[in-house]
Symmetry: C2
C-alpha cells in the first residue's frame, strides 16, 4: 500500500498526462467520496458480485501493452481513484483549461450515479504477459478447457484484464468503461466490449424473476448475493487458495452464449418446457405448481416417466447431481444485430458467473451440461474467459495492490 | 379497407399458421384494445414520430421474399393486429396447446407495456420488388445519394420495410420486433437490426437535454413533437405529395453515424467546442450564455472573429443558412463493441430523422454538412436508408392499407 501511494505521488510529480493527473486529484478528495464506499466495495469484496443485479452491463476485456508490472500497478491506482469518482456520479476532474483535452469524456454529465459498480479482474494472460508476477499466479487461474459444441471467437475470448460495469443507465456503464479504457492507454488495449441488458422495470424484483430470450424465467434457483453463508461457501475465495492476495475475492467466468432463437421459437410449448424442465408461464418446475416449489427430480407421471426429463436443463444442472455445486449467475441478455452469415439474430445470454473454484464448480458443471443438457442443442458458446477477482482493497490502497506487495 | 378485412377472414378461414391466426384472434378484441389508441396511433399519424422519445430503440429492416402484393397486404393486416396488442403489453394470443409453438416468444411476459411504439415504413426496394405497385411509388422515395465521406455497409443500408420500435424497456422493444419478424416469415426476411439507447433517467426531460457520445447536449434546437404547427410545416406530408396514401405520413431517414471517439476525446476542450459551436458543459451556443439562448451567427470577438466558427456544426446546420429547413431528429446512441479492424469502439449515433420532403430537407442539409461541417472529420456514416411512413390507418384498417386500395 505504501508503494502504491508513493507511485501516486511519483506520477503526480512527474507531469503525467492531464487525464491521469486529474484522476489523482479526484482521488485525493476522500470526504466527498466517502459516500462511494457502499458502491465501490461490498464489505471485504468488490462491488458488482453480491450486489443486486442492475439493468445494464458493459463487459470489457483488455490486453496488456506493457511488460512492466510497475505500469500495471500504476494503472490500478489510477483506476481505483477513477472508479471511486465514477460510482458516485462524479466526472473525472481535470484542469478545465480550454487548451487541454477534457479529463472526462462527458457523455454521462448530468446523469445520476445510477447504481454503477465496476469490478476488476485478472486473466491468465496477465501472468503470461508479466513473467515477474508468475509466483503470484493462482494455480486455478488457467484458460478454461474447450467443451463439446464450443465455437469460440478468439477475439471475444480471454484477456489479461476485465472490467464489469453494471448500472441502471446504459450510458453510465458505457461512460465508465470508456473512461477507464482511456486512462489505460499505453498500459492496456481494449480487446472485447460486450453490451448486455437485463429486464428494465422501474420497480425491480417485486415483479418477479426476469425472463431470458428463450421466454423462460431465469435465475429462480440462483444464489442470492445477500445470503452471506452461501456466498462464503460457494463464491468467496477463502484460506484454501494458494495466493493470499486473492482471499476474499472470487473467480469470474464469462461465456457469450448465442441462442438459436428461430429454432427455439419453432418448438412446441411442450418441447420447450421439456428442454428446460419448467413451465414457461409460471416458472414452476414440471414437478410442481409454483415457481419456487422445490425441484423434485424423482417425480413421475402415471406411466412412471420422470416429469423432469433426463436431459432437462434443470436436472442436468441440479446441485444434487453435481456434488452440491452452486454458482452465482449474474448474466445479461445481449442482442448484437443480424449475423451476416446466417441472416439470423446474433442474440442470447452473456453468461457471467462467480465461484470460488472454477475447476470444481463451473468447469465440472459445464462439462456435464455440454454433454447432457437438451438446451445445448439450441445454444452455441461463442466466447470464453476466466478472471481472478481480487477482494476490495484495504482503505487507501488500490484494487489488486496486494498482487504487488 | 373492406379488402383488408376480407383478407383477414380469408386468412383465418384458411387454417393459417398458428401464429398468424393467434394475432387475428387478438385483433378481434377491440374493447380490450381501445386503450391502445394513444400508443398505436398519434391522431392521424403513426406513433413513434411526434411521441416523446423513449429510452430504447430497436430498428429493423427487412427484404421482401415475395413478389405478391397480396402477401404484403396480408402481412400488414397481421402486423397491425399484433402491434395493437404489443403496445398495451399483451402477449400475442395463441391456442396455448402444448403441441403447438407458442404464438408469443415470451421474453416480455410480465413486463409492462413500457411506452412501446412501433412505426412501419416502406423503402424504395419495396417498389422495386413489387412492380405491380409501381404506380403507388412516391416520386421522392428514391435511395439517398452518396455523400462525401460515406462508407456505407450495404447490408445495413436500404431495405424494403422498416420497423422502428421504441420503449422504456429494451426487452419490450426487442420482443416486439422479434415477434413481428417471426410473423413475417415467408413474406419478409430480416436484413438489419440495430439496437440503440438514449439516456435512461427515470425522471426524463426535467433533467435536461440528453448528451451524445461526444459529451455534448444533443437536440437543444430540435423540433418538438408536440408543436403541431411546426410538425405540419416540416414533418407531415400534405397535399403536395403525388401519392394520396402518404398524406399524413412522413419520410424517415436512418443513418448509422460512427463517431471516432478516441480522436475526438484527444481534442482540447476548445477544439471540441469550436467544432460544435457550443459550450460543452452548459450546451449554450458560443455566442451566448445559456443552453436555450438563440444562436447568433453574427457574433464576433474583440478581434472581429466569429464566435461560432465558419465550419462549426451548428452554423452549417443552421436553418437560417439552409433555406429555413428543419427536420425532426429522433436518434439514439449505439455501442456495438470493438471494431476488429481498428481495435476501436464501433459506437456513435444511430441518426433517425423525419421530414415531409427528404430531398429538400435531409439531402440538402447533409450535402452541406458533408462538405463543410467540421464535425464530419470525426464521424463516418456507415449505413443509409429512406422509408416512406404511411399515416395511421383509419379505424378497422391496417397500416399501409391505402397503398393497396
Amino acid at each position: 500500500m505504501s508503494r502504491s501511494l508513493s507511485r501516486r505521488s511519483m506520477l503526480a510529480a512527474s507531469g503525467a498526462a492531464a487525464a491521469g493527473a486529474a484522476v489523482l486529484a479526484t482521488a485525493s478528495l476522500p470526504q466527498s467520496l466517502a459516500a462511494a464506499a457502499r458502491s465501490f466495495t461490498d464489505g471485504a469484496h468488490q462491488a458488482g458480485i453480491a450486489t443486486a443485479v442492475q439493468d445494464h452491463l458493459v463487459f470489457a476485456t483488455f490486453d496488456l501493452t506493457t511488460n512492466s508490472p510497475a505500469d500495471l500497478e500504476r494503472l490500478l491506482v489510477t483506476w481505483t481513484g477513477a472508479i471511486k469518482a465514477l460510482v458516485v456520479g462524479q466526472a473525472l476532474a481535470g484542469s478545465g483549461v480550454l487548451e487541454a483535452p477534457p479529463a472526462d469524456t462527458g457523455e454521462a454529465a448530468g446523469s445520476p450515479a445510477a447504481g454503477l459498480t465496476v469490478t476488476v479482474g485478472f486473466g491468465p494472460a496477465l501472468f503470461e504477459a508479466l513473467p515477474a508476477l508468475q509466483a503470484r499466479r493462482p494455480a486455478l487461474l488457467q484458460e478454461l478447457p474447450s467443451f463439446p459444441g464450443d465455437q469460440l471467437d478468439p477475439g471475444r475470448s480471454g484477456g489479461a484484464i476485465c472490467l464489469q460495469a453494471c448500472a441502471q443507465d446504459p450510458i453510465v456503464a458505457f461512460h465508465a468503461v470508456r473512461n477507464l479504457a482511456r486512462l489505460g492507454l499505453g498500459t492496456v488495449a481494449l480487446r472485447a466490449f460486450q453490451v448486455g441488458t437485463g429486464r428494465t422495470t422501474a420497480s425491480g424484483r417485486s415483479e418477479g424473476t426476469p425472463r431470458n430470450l428463450l421466454g423462460f424465467k431465469d435465475g429462480t434457483n440462483n444464489l442470492v448475493g445477500s445470503d452471506q453463508k452461501a456466498m462464503d461457501r460457494y463464491v468467496w475465495v477463502g484460506d484454501e487458495t494458494d495466493q493470499a492476495w486473492l482471499r476474499g475475492g472470487t473467480y469470474l467466468v464469462a461465456r457469450r452464449i448465442r441462442t438459436h432463437l428461430e429454432v427455439w421459437s419453432s418448438l412446441s410449448l411442450d418441447a420447450q418446457q421439456q428442454v428446460i424442465g419448467r413451465f414457461r408461464a409460471s416458472g414452476a418446475p414440471l414437478s410442481g405448481r409454483h415457481e419456487h416449489d422445490a425441484v423434485n427430480l424423482d417425480a413421475v407421471n402415471n406411466l412412471a416417466q420422470p416429469l423432469i426429463a433426463p436431459s432437462a436443463h434443470i436436472r442436468v444442472a441440479a446441485p444434487s447431481l453435481n456434488g452440491g455445486t452452486k454458482i452465482l449467475r449474474r448474466g445479461y441478455n445481449f442482442t448484437d444485430g443480424v449475423d451476416p452469415k446466417t441472416g439470423e439474430l446474433d442474440a442470447g445470454l452473456f453468461f457471467i458467473c462467480f465461484q470460488k473454484n472454477p475447476t470444481t464448480q463451473f468447469v465440472a458443471l459445464q462439462a456435464r451440461l455440454a454433454a447432457n443438457d437438451a438446451l445445448s442443442n439450441y445454444t452455441t458458446h461463442t466466447s470464453s474467459a476466466l478472471f481472478a477477482i481480487p477482494p476490495a482493497p484495504t482503505p487507501g490502497s488500490a484494487i489488486g495492490a496486494a498482487l504487488f506487495s
